[in-house]
Amino acid sequence: MSSPSSTQILINAFKSPQKLPDTPLRQWDLMLRLAKRANLIGRLAETVHLYGVMNELPTQVQTHLNSARVLTTHQRQAIAWEISHIGKALKPLGAPLVLLKGAAYAIADMAAARGRLFGDVDVLLPKVLLNQAEAALMLHGWGSDEADPYDDRYYRRWMHELPPMAHRKRGTVIDVHHNILPLTARNLPPADLLLSDSVPIAGTDFRVLSPCDMVIHSATHLFHEGELQNGLRDLFDLDALLSELSEQQPSFWHELTERANVLGLAWPLHLALRYTKAILNTEVPEYAYDSIAKSATQSKISLQLLDSVYLRAFQPDHPICNNLQTQIARAAIYLRSHYLRMPLGLLFIHLGRKSVIRLFKNTSRSV
């Protein structure tokens, strides 16, 4: 059982950074490899920096961590720059512009943004404004690269977002959402509730989801996700959100469970709390966990099944951790995510089509 302990070694580095100077070089080699693969190297570097232990580490390790800090510092600046461009393009709509996930953590300067690498910028808008938003973005240089008409139609008919739009010059990608789950999903939350509860960010034209919705969105996204390449990173995001937000607001835990019930998203929140607790040892008050577990109404058997899958799949997707069990777990999550996102009939047609196309594409990487 060497695999779980490799992941545990990496997690311990975040949880007890004061012990890092005593880490043997061979263990650093392992931790850096896993952290790179899990997209956690930036967060590890930031943790080491914040605890002031950088200078006590082996030189080679310092080099890699400092290099990661150069990259994450740049990305933090770059996302701010990108957000300012998006603001300029979408301001004329006069609508609330809600940033989601990484971009939201960055603009609200939250702990979850520290040392994080950013991908696409995700924006949430009222559905009626989607066409106008697309036109405004195209006017400012963004465009959809969706060459496959099937995928384009699939996005527009069934998804909760426009096809991703890439900027012609900067190459950056924006995802314009009108909900946080596909329209075909089994538990589609009312998007207007998310928008009306969002909070403005002072000094900008942007808003972010309310603290509770931010956690619920992150949880919902993670447990609908079919590929957990960034699973452990997302779990660390949740850990950072929960710690920071619960500290700011004494009634946070109570509000969080209430809100999840209102949105009909108790079960993903339940799983989020279950696995941040189990894997990252996140502090979750017992009453909050019991309350959400009660409203999520997941049977003991289905929880045992989910545990057997998720406890494996949250490991970095790295040859050191991978074995037959993690492969089965990842396949199970892939299927489950599709089951959650669309009705079975539609699912079979969609997956059938995808697997035929895949046979003729170059690699297994293009899904």
Binding site: L25, D29, R33, R37, A78, N362
Partner: protein, 310 residues
């Protein structure tokens, strides 16, 4: 457990092959250590030839990169042989034809440095040293940069790097990688004739680039690969058939802009990147250089380096 350093040439091809297979082989280029895994005998042979003079370790405690060249695990392998490059289990590139595996390792390792080593300001340029001073040869593909770099490296200049020039952002010194030199098409015969004793990796055919192969770096360049050099000249070479050698001054502003646009991590380094390019261009004489014969070029570079002597 890890064993002390030895040279790759001290390992038999069979021993190297078995260390590559079980993933215990680690190669040192400059101050970077790359752990390499592969089952492919042609990759083992290529490493054995190209890195004969390089130090290596078996199962060291720490490596900067862990890479693998292998057969991709997809359905296509049943009707078309391919090779893929993995770094910590991730494949940053689409697979290439099987016979390009040895070159794929070289390109993959270049990419690993360019994409993740932000301890340096990294230029797409060749660099060589003489008397502690470095010349940087930035140039687009097809300008004859690698051919000129090879000729200089075989005639009194020490090769720092053929593809990636690594600049320390604090000291503005150039670090060496002393990796094999990538040569294409007509350059291959040109250099074979220029230096018949040179050692070469396997030659492959790439539809985009034509014939491609790698040249083993001179032993002296490898021995001294931990010595840094002070950049002194920036020369933009351009091969032009039948031309007389012509060295003309180039403005520092033009050179600055070229680096700002062509360095791998100019924007990633942010303000530091701007500062490095400014200081680098300030401390160097900048030239454009047109040539057709390597002998002429060597003479001009001798003249440059002698002029800098006190």
């Amino acid at each position: 457990m890890s064993q002390p350093l030895c040279r790759v040439s001290e390992l038999s091809l069979e021993a190297l092959q078995s260390h590559l297979q079980d993933g215990s082989f680690a190669l040192q280029t400059g101050n970077l250590i790359s752990r390499i895994t592969t089952n492919f005998p042609d990759v083992a042979l290529s490493v054995h030839i190209l890195y004969a003079n390089h130090p290596c370790q078996i199962s060291p405690d720490f490596s900067d990169f862990h890479v693998e060249i292998r057969q991709p695990r997809n359905l296509r392998r049943w009707f078309k042989q391919q090779s893929e490059f993995l770094i910590d289990g991730d494949a940053p590139f689409e697979p290439l034809p099987r016979e390009q595996a040895p070159a794929f390792l070289e390109w993959g390792l270049n990419w690993a440095v360019a994409a993740s080593c932000h301890q340096w300001f990294t230029l797409h340029a060749a660099s060589l040293e003489r008397n502690g001073l470095a010349v940087i040869l930035p140039a687009p593909p097809g300008s004859g940069k690698s051919t000129l770099c090879t000729a200089l490296a075989l005639r009194g200049w020490r090769l720092l790097s053929d593809e990636l020039t690594l600049i320390n952002p604090q000291l503005i010194t150039a670090s060496a990688l002393a990796r094999p030199i990538n040569l294409k098409n007509a350059s291959i015969e040109l250099i074979r004739n220029f230096e018949p004793t040179s050692a070469w990796g396997p030659e492959t055919y790439d539809t985009a680039k034509g014939r491609v192969t790698h040249l083993r770096p001179p032993a002296n360049s490898v021995e001294r690969m931990l010595e840094n050099a002070q950049p002194r000249w920036i020369v933009f070479p351009r091969y032009c058939p039948d031309s007389e050698p012509l060295l003309t001054p180039r403005t520092k502003a033009q050179t600055f802009i070229h680096f700002a646009q062509n360095a791998f991590n100019y924007s990633t380094l942010g303000e530091t990147g701007f500062d490095v390019v400014g200081r680098l261009v300030d401390q160097c004489d900048c030239y454009d250089f047109t040539y057709s014969r390597l002998e002429d070029a060597l003479e001009v570079f001798d003249w440059l380096s002698n002029g800098a002597l006190p």
